[in-house]
Symmetry: C2
Subunit: 346 residues, 2 copies
Amino acid sequence: MSRTSGRDSLRTVGEFGLIQRLRRQWPTSSPQVVQGIGDDAAILQPSPGQQLLVSTDVFIEGVHFDLAFQTPRDVGFRAATANLSDIAAMGGNPLYLLVSMAIPDHLPITNVRAWYRGLQEACSPYQVELIGGDTSSSLHHAFLSLTIMGTIQSNRSLTRNRAKVGDHIYVTGTLGDSHAGLHVLRTRANTRPRVRLRRDEQWLAQRHLRPTPRIVVGRLLARQGIAHAAIDLSDGLSGDICHVCKESRVGAEIWATALPLSSHLRTFAKNNGVDPVEFALRGGDDYELLFTAPSKYHQKVCDVAQKTKVSISCIGTIQPKSFGRRLRHDQGRTQTLKKQSYTHFR
Amino acid sequence: MSRTSGRDSLRTVGEFGLIQRLRRQWPTSSPQVVQGIGDDAAILQPSPGQQLLVSTDVFIEGVHFDLAFQTPRDVGFRAATANLSDIAAMGGNPLYLLVSMAIPDHLPITNVRAWYRGLQEACSPYQVELIGGDTSSSLHHAFLSLTIMGTIQSNRSLTRNRAKVGDHIYVTGTLGDSHAGLHVLRTRANTRPRVRLRRDEQWLAQRHLRPTPRIVVGRLLARQGIAHAAIDLSDGLSGDICHVCKESRVGAEIWATALPLSSHLRTFAKNNGVDPVEFALRGGDDYELLFTAPSKYHQKVCDVAQKTKVSISCIGTIQPKSFGRRLRHDQGRTQTLKKQSYTHFR
């Protein structure tokens, strides 16, 4: 098989040429992968005592990403993070990735490989292996669909439906950065001549382009039996807490002043005359974890934060269902916490 | 949760409303599905002694399907069959399906459910469960990506790389029908006023719209250790035999006169002045199985055909690699068998 030339396109290389290249670019090494990409299906040998986790996510050009201000590598990285984050939210160990992709067929093959490099870059800290995929031409826009598989020790997974009244509600990292970063990137893409980003804007943009899945935190929370329920913040806090409350049949009080806000988001909010708390509540795609844990485990939660070097903030408490979902401000005033997340179909 | 109204769209129901409806439409019942759709990931409990099979396929409007002559239910059915067929080609037992879908968000929710009904219709003979998915809006075209998981007894799977010199080459069913059916459907869609299809055309159209995955045949071939190698005919015989030969490092002789042709394809070919053998060699998407088996197992192959009521034809032999891939005509004349399949990127 010849090396990739800059003039090669999907049209000239074909799907099977692409598979050959991917086998070299992203080889499998795990003995549990009996058969990787290239046959009708991958063959896996599951480990005894473990349960399997499987999740799929779809990413559409013009809906989930915009090649005007994201490179194919950026898109691959973010998509893989979103998919990895689903495994993190279950407390699992990500292992295998399947990639379905459709892109206009005149694009150079180097472009396709850039998508895969982004995917691989996000996956490599966790030794996730590429075990399957399907690649096709599309008429106009690019589509990407990822399926991730992982494992977890039997009956240790963190689901959305086990939050208990009295639990503390925690989140990792800082909230709203990604949405602010998206705003920065979009504004810059529409500004002529191009302006240089300030340092705080650059940081926010990076939080959008290169988010971190909280695999290590999730794994510890599950393994040590600390958390009752967990979800990753993909739709935004106000929407995602709603899923936990509905599935667990509970209510929640969120403390506005306890929401972890980065100094960069505060600067951005000040410069743009917006409320950073709104960004924290509504901004999607942070890929931080939200979890609930009994108050007696507060020290254990602090230990996880210290061990993983990921900040973890207590932002509220689980309440009876009749309480509803409320946001408490610092003067004691409370208001109904409306679901105002980014959702599709609008 | 209210029932679906004809006026509901993805926009009004939202992704979580859709999940609620799908949980009712396609409930999971297997004890091995610890958690189905609705959380960050599905949780599965693998059976000891079994290996897992996983495969993903992508389907793009305008590339793989055309809503001018296929209903959403047709598209769902065909897509599921293509995905199920990958498990059939490994000799496995299909169990779980994940569905990624993106469609223009103004479409009525009944339209989305029709896609799922087609998926469910194709999956229900095998009790395949829906365990995950992601649904999004798209700007213009519809996009579908399926991931299927199945199981197989350890080390029993049928791969492409184990064909041996001297093996007979077999195919199930008849070849070329689907491609002829596509031709019939396309021609009719472009003809005004609409013409009524003749009986043979109707049959071919159905072979395109409602193909059968050869799950039962594949399962018997694997369980009884009959086949050396197998692949499903998705690209067309001339291309798919090429994959087996390359992966197994062998050659092949295909007998033109032994190719199983339906009487309907012969009638179609006569009426349209085309060669039915060309349709059998090049036509993709038949989803029949091609497999190789030692000649001593010929009777066992016949027994499988009789038991499953699926015709199985011997169409050639595996040869040394130096032989190449050749097509033998009835007068003994042979020609190089060129890969002339339907492939994407052209």
